[in-house]
Point group: C2
Chain length 338, copies 2
DNA sequence: GTTAACGGTGCAACCGGTTGTACAACCGCG
DNA sequence: CGCGGTTGTACAACCGGTTGCACCGTTAAC
């Protein structure tokens, strides 16, 4: 054996080194008020001495918690990866949890195989709570979680789902965001609008389009709605195609700020000025929005705050709180592209 | 309390229901040869009856394993998300592990805060093994893992790192892949080459470029190397810029198949024929490569197999195997774009 | 001087499984 | 009938922590 797998020191060793009992050592390390300062000092010194860290397995069994929260991803990872909103949202979760002793881990469960593994670990209570990033109706995993009574937070609107009084929900109002963007471009007096959206099968995209339509009606004809990827290159390519069609338009609603950046590049190359000739509105309030020339008017989705909220709701539920529903609100960010 | 948090049934309840002791119940459920068939049947029936699933915490403490493997991501998630190779690789890991009882979870550790949380849970031995997707030299986490003796697999070449005899390594030879692509385009007789690569700070991109250079030398001048994103829109945009420069070229090496798809679109729009006028070679053997017109000649990186390998190596190390180093080989996939 | 109150500590039980070992019942054999 | 050997089961210890409760020695109050 080249590898000296030092077995980790146990509480008993610390106690022995400090000359106290296991229970006293435990209380000292957990800062119980019943232990004298002097003893605490001795025990802490001994713990540091032998590099003691409480073993997760023993601790979990005793306190009934693993202090691990699963972030459940039921769609294929590749889809998740191509949607930029997730990364910000996930950062919000980890950011918030890093204040606590809980550790968020991402759990992929897109194939049946993976779902079975996940189910198994849910049943075993490997996790204290679950945050479902993209819940869908009829998910077997949600059924299992409901049955087991595992604290669960759904991120996304699940209309008419049967778990309303069992699970918590956190989502932002995409339709409202769409209305904000459309209202802004309408107030500017634009009449012929083009929409360059994200992928067609994305539910948020559908909600936003509904918001656009509610405000613009016939000013946004079906023919002017283009579905594409989320990146600037995609926006660039889409705008090229629109220009090639030689239709008249004076406003562009974009599904993401990166799309908008590509759109602006393509417009400029075609000799069109933003915002003099064409108004452009983005979505997300991504960092790139401020770096665009002109700076991008956009709709801010409070993704990071949504993550914070989801994390906090999960922690509350672990402590026994009742399920709640939280709607986050979109916000128009006025800049110069309108 | 609206929520009837049914506390999960324990082994003791199963044993009582079956009329045997806890130990017998345990052995029966684990299919021990020492238990009679008749008793096993009774115990299994009782377990099914009360919906028994062994509690992960108790089990973990007893057997010394949590059966959870952490997939460590040390770069920011957004970066991970924008690199398409990861998703395939991660799928390989989960795919392989779904055959075992182990569950892979993704652990984000890009901020200092997150790294501290991760470190804590490593020390507590919350995970049986760690697969580091993007290891870098001088990572404190690697140091901790080494010290703790946690079975660890590094995915990626870490030159001259001090952990060679402690950690296992799995990586594919990007430079070799670059050579394959360059050789193919050279054999075709192309002399003026352009490279449209991924992000400049990506180490794999650097390795591949080294491979290109080793074969092509001056046929690939510095000025012809463009760094961009990984998507088709990015390739489209990059090729537009190249065409605008009006330089002479007859071959394009692309950093991804999606980039190549965009490149081909742009070339076609400019009236250039592939492969008659210009040869194009991709990278990854992404699904899109076969759907391109013409079908894309590309370099296949065995990402999924790499994931399988990493997972298996991790399992072996958990069983006590010595650390190993595995190099996966690239492969040229001949199609019609050359 | 006895007693009550109190701060500090240790014993032992407990969380929910697994496993070494002892033991009882049964078998066939001499 | 007594023996050794097999089979099936139960007891109890153990994994590594936490925690209710009993107990000890002080000190203050009467």
């Amino acid at each position: 054996m080249t590898q000296p797998v030092r077995t980790a020191p146990t509480l008993a060793e610390v106690a022995a080194a400090a000359g106290v009992s296991r229970s006293t050592a435990s209380r000292a390390l957990n800062d119980s008020p019943r232990i004298s300062e002097e003893t605490k000092r001795r025990v802490r010194a001994a713990a540091k001495e032998v590099n003691f860290v409480p073993n997760a397995r023993g601790r979990a069994l005793a306190v009934g918690r693993t202090e691990i929260i699963a972030v459940l991803v039921t769609e294929p990872l590749s889809e998740l990866f191509s949607d930029p909103t997730y990364s910000e949202f996930l950062s919000g979760i980890t950011e918030e949890l890093s204040e606590s002793s809980y550790l968020p881990v991402i759990l992929q469960a897109s194939s049946t195989h993976e779902r079975n593994r996940a189910r198994e670990h849910f049943e075993r209570r490997s996790f204290d709570a679950v945050i479902d990033v993209s819940p869908y109706k009829g998910s077997e995993l949600l059924e299992v979680l409901c049955e087991l009574g595992v604290p669960t937070v759904l991120c996304g609107q699940l209309e008419g789902h049967p778990y309303r009084d069992v699970f918590s929900t956190v989502y932002s109002d995409d339709e409202e965001g769409g209305r904000f963007a459309a209202l802004a471009i309408k107030d500017r007096g634009r009449k012929d609008i083009v929409a360059v959206l994200g992928p067609q099968d994305n539910p948020a995209v559908a909600d936003r389009l509904r918001g656009y339509r509610a405000v613009l009606g016939e000013d946004l004809p079906d023919a002017n709605v283009i579905y594409t990827g989320w990146n600037s290159g995609d926006g660039y390519q889409a705008m090229h195609q629109i220009l090639a069609r030689e239709i008249a338009f004076d406003g562009v609603l974009c599904g993401s700020d990166r799309i908008a950046a590509g759109v602006i590049t393509a417009l400029n190359e075609a000799g069109l000025s933003v915002p003099a000739d064409v108004s452009v509105v983005g979505f997300d309030d991504h960092e790139i929005a401020t770096r665009c020339v002109p700076a991008l008017t956009t709709v801010r989705q409070p993704l990071r705050e949504e993550g914070h909220m989801a994390a906090n709701v999960a922690l509350d539920m672990i402590k026994g709180a009742e399920p709640t529903t939280t709607v986050m609100h979109m916000q128009l960010v006025q800049r110069d592209s309108l």
